[in-house]
């Protein structure tokens, strides 16, 4: 069996919420051993973000937490206590990468900044992924994905275009984008370490990463002083484009006609009047929308998409969060996988998006229960005695359950 690229790499994962755990999920998919570290007093909020009244141990029963933390191990450590810090530094000796997405000042305030980590392991790689980075006047700002999106300028570009209202992406978009960048940073630092033997401190600002996703808008602003307009669902580079309601509840189809020829193909496929010469140029797009909209209103979206695909026209259903789990293409590619979990019935989870066709990354295990691997790591990896582990328990540096768990 071919080895995964990160086979043999060990990661100390201090991340929480979505951006960091998304990064470390990918690292785990690529073969790294990821040890997720949470404090009994400050656990990953995602465990308890969604209220589950009446559920025993809700922190171990969150499908949201599970989707982004599978294939990891769980170690509890209260880093605010000296014994927790000392244990963490013992662990760092055995790790290649430490990754964290605390607010910019937190790791240093804990006394665990990069310089301290290098005393435990000189060639350690630290990936810090604060919202605005470790330096600069905005470093004290607190940022989650939707905030990052606003501050990156992406939100200013999104909108229907007729009311001047900027619209956010329907999820915390800044998080997974920063997560992917953090993976790339960690791997590049591993390549550097292989070449030079040196560690690296990566200072990743989530806002900056997301701004790299709208580079052309910065070209327009800096070269010509242009403000990129909110364009709704249209696209200036194409002949026409839109999103059209289909038969059924909240069923929609996105269609791009990159050229006049593709509009003609759409017209033929949907039996529409093709000729537009009688339509004033400024009304042409509205007329295209009207004709397609009228034809699709009574048509099944899947049938419409397949008909347009056959005609060589880009068309895609606006798959909702249920339909995407039943999409025939994703099903044919084995994208959704069900993993057993000790507390929950199986559900469809996404497999790795990076399909290494030879090494074949595969999901192995559900997300860890809180502190599930405490003994394995403390005793097996760090060589702590039973008495030393018992002392950490007494001090509540480690625990099998969060202290005073609430919601969020």
């Amino acid at each position: 069996m071919k080895k995964l690229p990160l086979d043999g790499v060990r990661v100390a994962d201090l991340t929480m919420m979505w951006a960091g755990p998304y990064a470390t999920r990918i690292l785990a998919e690529m073969g790294a051993e990821v040890i997720k570290i949470e404090s009994p007093r400050a656990w990953d909020n995602i465990r308890t973000l969604i209220p589950q009244p009446g559920v025993e141990e809700p922190w171990n029963s969150s499908y949201y937490f599970n989707d982004y933390n599978r294939d990891k191990k769980s170690l509890t450590l209260d880093l605010a206590q000296e014994a927790g810090k000392a244990t963490f530094l013992k662990l760092v000796k055995h790790c290649d990468v430490v990754i964290e997405n605390y607010r910019a000042d937190v790791l240093d305030s804990l006394g665990l900044g990069y310089e301290v980590l290098t005393t435990a392991r000189p060639d350690i790689i630290l990936v810090s992924m604060a919202g605005y980075g470790k330096t600069g006047p905005e470093r004290a700002q607190v940022g989650f994905g939707p905030i990052i999106e606003q501050m990156s300028a992406l939100t200013s570009l999104t909108g229907y275009g007729d009311d001047g209202v900027p619209i956010k992406t329907g999820l915390s978009y800044g998080d997974p984008v920063a997560g992917m960048a953090a993976v790339t940073a960690a791997v590049l630092a591993l390549i550097k370490r292989r070449k030079t033997g040196e560690g690296t401190f990566i200072d990743l600002a989530q806002r900056e990463v997301l701004s790299t996703f709208i580079g052309e808008a910065f070209v327009a602003a800096s070269l010509r002083g242009e403000t990129t307009a909110q364009r709704g669902n249209r696209e200036a580079r194409y002949f026409a484009q839109g999103v059209y309601r289909c038969a059924g509840d909240e069923q929609w189809l996105a269609v791009s006609m990159r050229t006049l020829g593709e509009w003609r193909s759409v017209a033929k496929a949907l039996d529409l009047t093709e000729e537009l010469t009688d339509v004033p140029k400024e009304a042409r797009l509205d007329e295209v929308d009207r004709r397609i909209g009228a034809a699709l209103a009574s048509m099944d979206p899947q049938e419409a998409m397949e008909r347009l695909a056959k005609a060589g026209v880009p068309a895609g259903r606006v798959l909702n969060t249920v339909d995407i789990h039943n999409d025939p293409h994703l099903e044919a590619r084995g994208y959704w996988v069900e993993l057993p979990h000790p507390r929950m019935a199986p559900w469809k989870q996404p497999r790795a998006s990076w399909q290494f066709k030879e090494a074949q990354p595969a999901m192995k295990r559900h997300a860890p229960l809180f502190g599930e691997h405490n003994r394995e790591i403390l005793s097996g990896l760090l060589g702590l005695s039973d008495a030393e582990i018992a002392e950490l328990e007494r001090l509540e540096v480690i625990a099998g359950a969060p202290v005073n768990p609430g919601i969020g």
Partner: protein, 357 residues
């Protein structure tokens, strides 16, 4: 100054698509020798070309693509299954050169019923699930600004490329990585993806208001937002300075959703009274996650980004463009110059094909 991490690594960029160009851009910035085979018909806009092609050598050499590919360490390509123009055979390349990494970034991946379907940014965004969550509930689903599904494919491609390259260094063998832009999105649907998988009930688009303390509001000089978790909600409420917020129906996270309209009204009033900068300053002071809707022009003048040296200057025939540069600090980054189409054909043919022979 250390030499760039990917110094000496040869990357061939094939296909001309935005995802492929973005993936290769990151590798170029971190020191790789990126050669772009220019497509016969350019699909990037002029502004996208300035942003995505700076730092790359450019060849027009469709006749020698297979040889160039064999001379590369990493090939990033975007040709779809069944494409008449498919220029390399990744499986064959892998057999011929065991160390090589091939990354294919396409709308639907290398197999499955839609693999040959045409796609654009919006159709990929729609098929990835994020679009169903985006936009106002009373209007149609909305595509986000720029070309987000394409950039997502590109960043996944960059990450996969360097990961496979590291694997090649460690284990001696590369791989062929199949990146489907649809899958890149389907696996990042936050809580909404697993939620629907469990409940069978789809989440619907909610505009700018997930809930009152997770929303964007008009403010005194534009738009600003808040995303307060439960632990940050008391500090946010203290800023709103409204005695009613001490009542149990607002304090209890299980009761609060039933009074969301009322809470939103209070938020509208508070945000309208404050400027973006006032809101951001209060956020830093009280540890409340506040944001403000900034424009690219705002960021070009942003003090943090200036201090951190975020932007690269690129000389263009129309003047100097400022573009997002290194995605993070810690590794050497090389801002690149913009070359014209086919400018480096002779030079690259000489260097790369000579090395091959």
């Amino acid at each position: 100054m250390h030499e760039p991490v990917l110094s000496g690594v040869r990357v061939l960029e094939l296909g001309g698509s935005l995802p492929v160009a973005f993936a290769a851009k990151w590798l170029a910035g971190f020191g790789a020798d990126v050669v772009r085979v220019d497509p016969d018909s350019e699909t990037l806009t002029p502004d996208e070309q300035v942003y995505l092609l700076a730092g790359k050598r450019r060849v027009s050499a469709s006749f020698a693509v297979e040889s160039l590919a064999l001379a590369a360490d990493i090939v990033i390509e975007g040709d779809q299954l069944g494409s008449f123009l498919r220029r390399v055979n990744p499986a064959q390349l892998r057999r011929q050169k065991p160390s090589i990494v091939v990354v294919s970034i396409t709308p639907y991946g290398q197999d499955g019923p839609y693999a040959a379907n045409q796609a654009t940014n919006i159709t990929s965004f729609a098929m990835g699930g994020i679009m169903s969550l985006t936009g106002m509930p009373q209007r149609e689903p909305l595509v986000t600004g720029g070309s987000q599904s394409q950039y997502l494919g590109g960043l996944n491609g960059a990450g996969a490329a360097v990961t496979a390259y590291l694997g090649s260094l460690i284990h001696g063998e590369g791989d062929w990585v199949d990146i489907s832009i649809q899958e890149c999105q389907a696996g990042m649907l936050e809580l909404y993806g697993p939620g629907a998988a469990v409940s069978g009930v789809p989440s619907m688009r909610a505009g700018n208001h997930v809930r009152a303390q997770w929303a964007i509001y008009p403010c005194a000089d534009g738009f600003a937002g808040v995303c307060a978790l439960e632990r940050q909600t008391p500090a946010f409420f203290s800023l709103l300075n409204d005695p009613e917020l001490a009542e149990e129906r607002f304090r209890d996270p299980l009761q609060r959703p039933q009074h969301d309209d009322e809470l939103q009204a209070k938020c509208y009033a508070w945000f309208a009274d404050h400027t973006k900068q006032e809101i951001l300053d209060l956020g830093a002071q009280y540890k409340v996650p506040f944001g403000a809707v900034m424009t690219p022009a705002d960021l070009l003048g942003n003090a943090t980004l200036a201090e951190r040296g975020f932007f690269d200057a690129v000389a263009t025939p129309g003047g100097t463009a400022m573009i997002p540069g290194r995605p993070f600090l810690g590794l050497p980054w090389t801002p690149g110059e913009l070359h014209s189409a086919g400018q480096d054909t002779e030079e690259v043919m000489g260097e790369w094909l000579e090395a091959l022979s």
